[in-house]
Symmetry: C2
Subunit: 352 residues, 2 copies
């Protein structure tokens, strides 16, 4: 599989990738190699990774607890302290081996340690492969507010090896599918139709095409001034729902994909109301999503709390929530204002 | 006084500066203006600043406690939470009004909030005027380790108004003098001689020339790959001494300048031993420093603890402490290895 060139770094695939990273470590002559894992990736992914790595440098493994709940500054502090105690310096490199929490948090930790050390991302979940592997976004949550603290920073290299997916749950795989659906409806309706028809889908191809699409978008608009905002489709309401379930004590957390899937149904509904997004396509999106994800019952009494969380979305300006909506597949409109009533209506539509 | 053009932004002086910032705020059409102060600058500097500012935008003041002890991630979290609660968004701007703690921490806070908002620095101490106003370094301490967490990030503008110095103590002014002496010995011996002879020194001129020197150095080497390392002269031992006094419970903290002044005496001594830095100039440096700062008695039993702290210096690679030393005034040598014995000897020389 050929490599993809992102803004300042390559994305390498499968076995070739291990040769490339071994070469990078040799060429850059790092002082210490730190590998950031969680308990799952340490058990299931680290053995494969380390057996494929060729280096004579000192390696130190730093483990953090898995889960979005740990994607915060407190965890960063513990990793910074660990790197410090293990003798990390400006010539150290941090390799992140894990899902989005590990790659997002690890990239932020590396970018701020002694004003920046190199890092390499190795996403091990479908979500982090298709979403976090290109784009240069790093960051952590502030309380329940997602990715409020972070930076644009590029890794030296990204490695995508789909065999790591054998180590994650079916629910995790589904979580990544939501982003692939998003690439389809916003940028590549052929891809969406293939998912809809569900014929001979190959996960390797889905990953490669998703990364290609995201890379095309990011190259045109790295700092999310315009086009890149389409990648937020479904995420405005989706993030608020994800945050709401995260902070709610009596409800089970949703995966990112489960929340974003609901967000896409809601925002497709709003697109239909405000921009005449075709009704049959709205139905297609809802049907595809309900064929993949269990239906969640959003409670009426929670609507206002979800809307409150919407107000902290990073795209907002002057307290005004800004949506990316669809005129049609592959045809979007930025910075749409939406009334609270219509947001409520869209959640009722999802529930119906 | 004419403005100085730093890498990506201007440094404006005195009254002209307030026109410039008012113009910037108008032009950029920020959603909210956040002003970061501590209890001292809120009382003594904020009234002057705000009375000179012309804007119709919403202004929110965020106050943190003064002192190096608060220059940490926990304070950043409280400022991020405050900005969030006050409705900050990507179009907000953060104006820092204070000494190095406020400008370094504020720059870091702004650069990481929602992946980066604009900031403007208004240093109010001599140290922050001559040291922190150009160079793009932002950051906070990790425990007692200084500036371990941070970024290179440029403000939109820096404002230098020496009338703020009327609000700070004599000890604070002296703290800034150490950096000016450093510019003298490493880059401009004419400046050092003027300080030594102490004839007709004008604080405005000293500030302007210091910023000019630092800017010249930074423009040649923004990311501190080579030349910029001269600005660390005195700081390798100085930072360790500063950290040691910061973490020591029974000793009064030193100011940054007091610690760096000791560091310059020690590193001049080492320069004499390793590079034949002239003995009479070593004496000059020690004399000038002891004429400004009270002598501190470094205890023999503390030497090993200070050396232990040296090992976390950001310039270190592979556990090896790297010094910038002097062959002569204005003539340095980078990446010098120094034995622990010689470091001990240099502290004994300072004590003698």
């Amino acid at each position: 599989m050929k490599s993809i060139q992102a803004i300042n770094y390559p994305v390498h695939f499968q076995n070739k990738a291990y040769k490339e990273i071994s070469h990078l470590l040799l060429k850059k002559d790092y002082s210490t190699i730190f590998i950031l894992v969680d308990e799952n990736t340490f058990e299931h992914c680290y053995p494969k990774f380390i057996s494929n790595l060729v280096t004579d440098k000192k390696i130190e493994v730093i483990e953090i607890e898995s889960g979005e709940i740990h994607k915060n500054i407190e965890t960063c502090i513990s990793v910074w302290n660990a790197i410090t105690e293990l003798g990390g310096d400006r010539k150290s490199v941090l390799i992140t081996l894990g899902g989005g929490v590990i790659t997002d948090l690890g990239g932020f930790v590396a970018s701020c340690f002694k004003r920046g050390i190199d890092f390499v991302n190795i996403p091990t979940t479908l979500l982090s492969m298709v979403d976090a592997s290109v784009g240069g976004k790093t960051g952590v949550d502030l309380g329940v507010l997602k990715n409020q603290i972070g930076l644009f920073a590029n890794p030296q290299m990204v490695i995508v090896d789909d065999t790591y997916l054998e180590t994650v749950s079916k629910r995790e795989i589904k979580s990544g599918m939501a982003e692939i659906i998003k690439y389809g409806v916003t940028y590549d309706s052929k891809l969406f139709n293939e998912i809809k028809d569900n014929k001979g889908l190959n996960i390797k191809d889905l990953i490669f095409r998703s990364i290609e699409i995201k890379n095309e978008v990011v190259l045109q608009d790295p700092k999310e001034k315009s086009l890149r905002k389409i990648l937020n489709f479904g995420h405005t309401i989706g993030h608020a729902i994800e945050s709401f379930y995260l902070e709610s004590e009596d409800k089970e957390n949703l995966t990112h994909g489960e929340a974003i899937a609901i967000g896409m149904v809601c925002e497709s509904y709003i697109s239909n109301k405000l921009l005449n997004f075709p009704k049959d396509k709205l139905k297609e999106i809802k049907d595809v999503i309900l064929s993949i994800y269990n239906k969640i019952n959003l409670l009426k009494e929670d609507f206002s709390k979800i809307i409150e969380l919407l107000k902290h979305d990073k795209k907002n300006v002057n307290g005004q929530v800004n949506f990316v909506l669809l005129n049609d597949y592959e045809n979007h409109k930025l910075d749409c204002k939406v009334s609270e009533e219509l947001i409520v209506e869209s959640m009722e539509f999802y529930n119906s």
